[in-house]
């Protein structure tokens, strides 16, 4: 067995945006790694910092309006590069080549005025020598690979002539045209029809194998996570609250928020009619984060922690098992009870 060699290593990443109302701490103290061939799923509700973190890795935040600290190393063949501190021009030349990203809404992510071919060739030309014809050939090849029928004909068509699912395929083809080592997929199926979602997901997995990529899949669909993820980061209020293998998160969730998320999934195997279990309350404002644990106000178990610890001390991301981390003060004995209680509730 070869040793685990991550392609992306994020260390203590913080992203904050100064606004008139105060500093929005969109993501704080984020650390994780992804290796080629590995799939990391990032789950959490809207505003939990999932996209902000990955946009920081891509260098897509405006450095003037975002305060970014920490490190994010890409372990390239030529040596590691910290995309947070590296010159903007260096990071730009890694985009599309070493790392690529696809976005949530394929309807608006393609330029409406340029043909699909034009937009793909443009991406190819950035990192390849060759004529427009070579680029077009490569574009057709990629469109073919992502399952666009009659690719050689459709390459000259415009985005509005494609359906949502087809556009997301085009986006994938464009992201992968330069054979990147890391693909960040930011809720790639959220805007699509349910029937198309699984096709696109399957396509992303196939492509990951084909190109041996590290994949970061941002989603709030826990069903998707169970299907594809090797590792899962659960995010809440800008922090990773639990991190572990997919099995850890599904069978041994440690953080009350992760437990709550799992419980909010409707299940077809529960025969008795049952109401969806929601986590009460709202996530806190990222400007005025409460002292102590960010999740405390919504947590049912906060009062079981001795010494009012949840209100006074921010929990650290502690190891709970092999590669399994959680940010919670709840003692192990109470945790076992909590799992049973929440899991068994109607």
């Amino acid at each position: 067995m070869t040793t685990y060699k991550p392609f992306l290593e994020v260390k203590n990443l913080n992203v904050a945006f100064p606004t008139e109302d105060g500093l929005v701490k969109a993501s704080s103290d984020i650390s994780f790694t992804v290796a080629r061939g590995e799939t990391l799923a990032v789950v959490g509700e809207s505003g939990s910092g999932k996209s902000v973190t990955s946009l920081a890795v891509m260098g897509l935040h405006n450095r003037k309006s975002a305060q970014i600290s920490g490190q994010a190393f890409l372990n390239l063949d030529s040596g590691p590069v910290d995309v947070i501190s590296a010159d903007e021009e260096i990071v730009r030349k890694l985009r599309g080549k070493a790392m690529s990203m696809i976005f949530q809404d394929p309807m608006s992510a393609l330029h409406p005025y340029y043909s699909i071919g034009n937009q793909l060739i443009e991406a190819w030309e950035l990192y390849n020598e060759g004529s427009k014809e070579d680029g077009k050939k490569r574009a057709i090849e990629m469109l073919d690979l992502v399952g666009i029928p009659a690719a050689s004909k459709r390459v000259d068509e415009y985005p509005h002539q494609f359906s949502g699912g087809m556009r997301q395929r085009v986006m994938i083809a464009m992201a992968l045209i330069n054979n990147p080592s890391l693909l960040i997929a930011d809720e790639p199926t959220t805007a699509l029809d349910v029937t198309v979602q699984s096709q696109i997901l399957q396509l992303i997995r196939d492509m990951q194998k084909e190109f041996n990529m590290a994949l970061i899949l941002i989603t709030h669909d826990l069903g998707v996570v169970a299907e594809v993820a090797d590792r899962v980061n659960v995010m809440y209020a800008g922090k990773i609250v639990e991190s572990g293998s997919a099995d850890d998160i599904y069978y041994r969730p440690d953080h009350p928020y992760a437990i709550g998320l799992l419980n909010s999934i409707p299940r077809v195997d529960k025969l008795e009619s049952q109401r969806l279990v929601a986590i009460p309350g709202q996530p806190p404002s990222l400007i005025h984060l409460p002292q102590g644990c960010s999740f405390r106000a919504r947590c049912e178990f906060a009062d079981r922690v001795p010494g009012n610890l949840c209100a006074t001390t921010t929990p650290t991301l502690d190891q709970k098992g092999d590669g399994h981390f959680s940010r919670c003060h709840l003692p192990e004995s109470e945790l076992v009870k909590a799992r049973v209680e929440i899991g068994g509730r109607k």
Binding site: R95, S108, A109, H111, P112, Y113, E122, L126, Y158
Partner: protein, 333 residues
């Protein structure tokens, strides 16, 4: 695309016919007798009637319109015998006050208006769009504030104020303009420097107004487009900021400005009444205002009105075709 073109062109022709009909109709029901206007204060009814017949005003309005259209195509002859007046095609009518075919009047005035419009157009597009892009790129920095101040001044200063101020305190004071050549048409082919001197202050005055609007519009369009998802995609591909701006942002942000520019330019071709008046430029605007205020010269007013409408309608067509070229989504519609 061909089908779209054919449909648009035929629609344009219909609109033009309707416009000319309604303008003609309005002048027919005006409580003014064009024949009576042809002779002075001491006028014999017999002279009025003779002129009425000569000008073809003694037949029904539809027949008059028919003759008008025929004149446009084939030219027109007024009167009989020794006193005939020939107006070659396209004949818009005969101005009795000026003793001149209207087409000749227009042919004299149009180059002036065209010069004014083209110069001002180039100036305001360059300044307006350029400043708008700069302001958008340097949002909330001093360049943006300068642009905002310019927009404020440009939009709130009416051209009859800015025109007079510039003429008096810049043009005449610094001898930039030759007061003796004001009011004369100098062809750029014969005397390019004289032509330029005669026009450039008028260009500035006229452009100031439009440039301010274009700055504001360009700025907001560029800023709005920069936040589009497809711009983020372009950045995620690894394109440089220069390519993103030039190829991706501006293409989308400036397309609606083409529409605006085409229509504004066409509007100007009908005559810039105030600016032409201030700088004594003998263009279509002055021709119209003189015909309206001083001469009650109905054939001239009719002609300039129809002409101005034609410019706008044709420009509309051209702009739509240009837009279909720029935005592929329009082509199929």
């Amino acid at each position: 695309m061909l089908k779209y073109l054919a449909r648009r062109v035929s629609a344009t022709v219909v609109v033009l016919v309707l416009v000319s009909m309604s303008v003609f109709g309005i002048f027919a029901v005006l409580p003014m007798d064009p024949a009576a206007l042809t002779c002075g204060k001491a006028c014999y009814p017999a002279v009025v009637e003779a002129n009425r017949h000569r000008l073809g005003l003694d037949v029904s309005v539809p027949v008059q319109y028919g003759r008008f259209v025929k004149g446009l195509v084939a030219g027109r002859t007024y009167g009989e015998g020794a006193a005939t007046i020939e107006c070659p095609a396209p004949a818009f009518g005969y101005s009795f006050n000026r003793h001149e075919c209207v087409t000749t009047l227009i042919a004299d005035a149009f180059p002036v208006t065209l010069s004014l419009a083209i110069g001002a157009f180039i100036l305001w597009i360059t300044v307006g769009v350029g400043l708008g892009i700069l302001a958008a790129r340097k949002k909330n920095q001093w360049q943006d504030r300068v642009a905002t101040a310019f927009v404020l001044v440009g939009t709130s200063l009416p051209s009859f104020i800015s025109g007079i101020l510039i003429l008096l305190f810049v043009g005449l004071k610094f001898n930039l303009i030759d007061p003796l050549s004001l009011g004369r048409w100098i062809s750029p082919l014969e005397d390019p420097v004289g032509w330029f001197r005669n026009f450039f202050l008028a260009w500035i005055v006229l452009a100031l107004l439009y440039a301010a609007t274009y700055t504001r519009f360009t700025r907001s369009n560029v800023i709005e487009t920069s936040t589009e998802d497809y711009i983020r995609t372009a950045r995620a591909k690894g394109l440089s900021e220069k390519v993103i701006l030039q190829k991706h942002t501006l293409r989308a942000a400036l397309a609606p400005i083409t529409t605006m520019a085409g229509l504004d330019f066409a509007g100007l071709l009908g005559g810039a009444i105030i600016t032409e008046q201030i700088f004594s430029l003998p263009g279509l605007g002055r021709l119209s205002i003189k015909a309206v205020l001083i001469d009650y010269d109905l054939p001239t007013i009719l002609a300039t009105t129809i002409l101005a409408a034609t410019f706008v309608v044709v420009a509309n067509l051209l702009v739509d075709i240009a837009y279909a070229y720029l935005d592929p989504r329009v082509r199929v519609a």
